[in-house]
């Protein structure tokens, strides 16, 4: 085990706790930069989707994992980002302008949703955001003069100045750059007073209020930030698949985003990315193993959905801390080698009524 002696507050707030951490992250980024040279287009495409959804799940993590506000309507923010970007770029606006605008627009909608949500908590909030997502979906279908309804919108690959990101490998660098920027932004938000206020709200609203934290303000900020990142992801997604229609933004997408952060591990940015990678790669893994299965299993259309549902159940039953929790446990096992105790990670179970009394 390593112990670190902190001599002043700046050290406590440092972005990387150890100098070696910085080194390893640098190595990781360099490794990721040369990855497209080794992999073929299929895997690069998967990595692109992981990058796009990671941006969205980081947004989700800020809201659900760090502020404790559960949303079942993030598909709507994703749709906001996609449609804003699609409409702007088809009208001749450059991608580099449309990208932040789609994030900002989603954030504005997030504030509007966040305001009534301030009075709600827990399940009520989840249900309210779900209702909101249904309404947005219906608007996208019906407002045909703007969104072309179910016909959808075709859009071009993103381009910045002379650079066009029209192949999988070139898009990879765009996605990676935005993901790294998002991660840095999220990490910085979390160590700022805003982030600390958000975490305080998650742990206890009453205690946070007692400490002088303005609940309304920080919940709205959390909603806006979360919607902003999700909107950016939506814009990227639209330009990646170059065709969008309302069917890409159903309740299932919102659930998928939630599943990502739960499987990854609530309350950690690592978890957001692990979870996203897991959820994106799982169906591909099923497809790869399908060839080895007997045909009566292989030909089932519902197989992937079924395994997906089963995955959620098993993860929450047996690994509630998620993939990141599993990683921490493994690391802890080796750090304290012969002395590992299972109880270290045992959570205190609450048997009293938490929400109502």
């Amino acid at each position: 085990m390593r112990f670190i002696m902190k001599l002043n507050y700046d050290e406590d707030l440092r972005l990387f706790r150890y100098r070696s951490t910085f080194f390893w992250y640098l190595a990781l980024v360099l490794g990721l930069l040369i990855l497209p040279a080794i992999l073929d287009n299929y895997f690069v495409s998967l990595l692109n989707f992981i990058a796009i959804y990671s941006v969205a799940s980081i947004g989700m993590m800020l809201l659900t994992g760090y502020t404790g506000q559960v949303s079942l309507g993030h598909a709507a923010f994703l749709a906001m980002g996609s449609y804003t970007s699609a409409i702007l770029t088809t009208k001749g606006c450059p991608f580099l302008v449309a990208l932040p605008i789609s994030g900002i627009f989603a954030a504005l909608v997030g504030i509007v949703i966040g305001l009534p949500a301030l009075r709600l908590s827990g399940l009520y909030l989840a249900i309210a955001t779900m209702g909101f997502a249904f309404i947005v979906d219906e608007i996208l279908v019906r407002w045909e003069s703007l969104t072309r309804g179910n016909l959808g919108i075709y859009l071009s690959s993103p381009s910045i100045g002379p650079l066009t990101f029209d192949s999988e490998k070139s898009f990879y660098y765009l996605g990676l750059a935005i993901l790294i920027l998002t991660l840095l932004a999220a990490k910085n938000i979390l160590r700022s007073p805003t982030g600390r206020a958000m975490i305080a709200i998650r742990d206890s609203e009453v205690a946070a209020q007692t400490m002088g934290i303005n609940l309304a303000k920080y919940k709205t900020v959390a909603f806006a930030l979360s919607a902003f990142f999700t909107g950016i992801a939506g814009s990227l997604y639209a330009h990646k698949v170059t065709f969008i229609n309302p069917e890409s933004y159903t309740l299932l997408v919102s659930i998928e985003l939630l599943v990502m952060i739960i499987i990854g591990g609530l309350g950690s940015l690592h978890g957001a990315i692990y979870g996203t990678a897991f959820v994106i790669l799982l169906p591909q893994l099923i497809i790869l193993t399908k060839d080895h299965l007997p045909s009566f299993v292989r030909d089932q259309t519902g197989l992937e959905a079924g395994l997906y549902g089963l995955m959620i159940i098993l993860f929450i039953l047996f690994e509630p801390l998620g993939l990141y929790g599993r990683w921490l446990k493994t690391k802890f096992y080796f750090e304290t080698f012969p002395l590992y105790k299972k109880e270290t990670f045992k959570k205190e179970k609450k048997f009293y009524k938490a929400e109502r009394h």
Binding site: Y124, F132, E138, I255, G302, I312, I316, P320, F351
Partner: protein
């Protein structure tokens, strides 16, 4: 009678019938929420499973409608108990949200399982009911027996449940547990058994709703999505109140039918959610709920 009044009454009647179904699904949510503080997102899927069981009993085993009805409700009750025992009980004490995600997982799993079972699959199926194709014509109205059956059977079920909660020891124990688990446990009530029973009743009510609904939407793997419309009903009624769930369901059902008749396309599908968001903005505790202050 004047045609306009006829049309209004007709719309209200159809709305009441749809509303009863919403109300029954909402009732399932409320029962589980009251007892265990978990919202069961798989309630709609339990309803779907009920409809599929009834279909199998009637079509494959050639059982009479009412026998199939009874068997399905019992079978679903058992299934509800198994679900609680296998999945929900190990999670007691975990964060509420994790448990909700598990129910979402159960819902997804049920849908895909149904699509894999031979004879069920992804097709749209239907079965004969004793009420089919028969109509009552008082005045200028046309009332189908199927609508009437929903209304009558729902009323009977609600009355039965009311008596159960009001007059039986078990019912009182369940109410006590929903008020305070710890105090109930001190009084010698087995909280675990109450949780089991809650899931049994709730799954049975879902099956009941599924069988009644199937003449209208037919039996298919996505019929459970109607469960999502029951959320507004439950919220409108106050999420902790059994009469509230039914009345909420009726209001949603009637509004939806009116929106379908008098408003442009698309409003019918979102009417329920617009009501939901309005209720949450104006009166989050719903019509019959009590706003409970959180104690630290």
């Amino acid at each position: 009678m004047v045609p306009l009044v006829d049309e209004l009454l007709q719309t209200v009647l159809a709305g009441i019938a749809t509303g009863c179904i919403y109300g029954l699904v909402a009732l399932g949510f409320v029962l589980i929420y009251k007892a265990t503080e978990v919202v069961n997102f798989a309630q709609g899927e339990l309803m779907m499973l009920g409809a599929f069981f009834a279909y199998s009993f009637i079509t494959f085993l050639n059982l009479p409608y009412w026998t199939a009805f009874l068997l399905t409700v019992i079978l679903m009750g058992v299934l509800g108990m198994l679900l609680e025992r296998a999945v929900l009980r190990p999670l007691i004490g975990e964060p509420v949200f994790a448990i909700v995600m598990v129910t979402i997982g159960v819902g997804i799993f049920c849908r895909s399982a149904v699509s894999m079972i031979p004879g069920w699959g992804t097709d749209t199926l239907g079965f004969k009911t004793p009420f089919g194709e028969k109509f009552l014509r008082p005045g200028g109205l046309v009332i189908s027996w199927e609508h009437l059956a929903i209304i009558i059977l729902t009323t009977t079920l609600i009355f039965g449940l009311y008596c159960f909660f009001r007059f039986t020891r078990l019912g009182v124990a369940m109410r006590a547990t929903s008020q305070n688990q710890l105090a109930a446990a001190y009084m010698g009530i087995s909280v675990r058994r109450v949780f089991s029973l809650t899931w049994i009743i709730s799954a049975a009510v879902a099956a009941f709703a599924g069988i009644l609904l199937s003449p209208f939407t037919f039996v298919h793997m996505n019929m459970g999505f109607i469960g999502l419309k029951a959320f507004p009903a439950a919220v409108l009624g106050g999420f902790g109140s059994i009469p509230g769930a039914i009345i909420g369901g009726l209001i949603i059902g009637i509004t939806e039918n009116f929106a379908g008749v008098y408003l442009p396309m698309g409003w019918k599908d979102v009417a329920a959610y617009i009501i939901l968001i309005l209720v949450l903005m104006i009166r989050p505790e719903g019509l019959f709920g009590i706003q409970e202050k959180k104690k630290v």
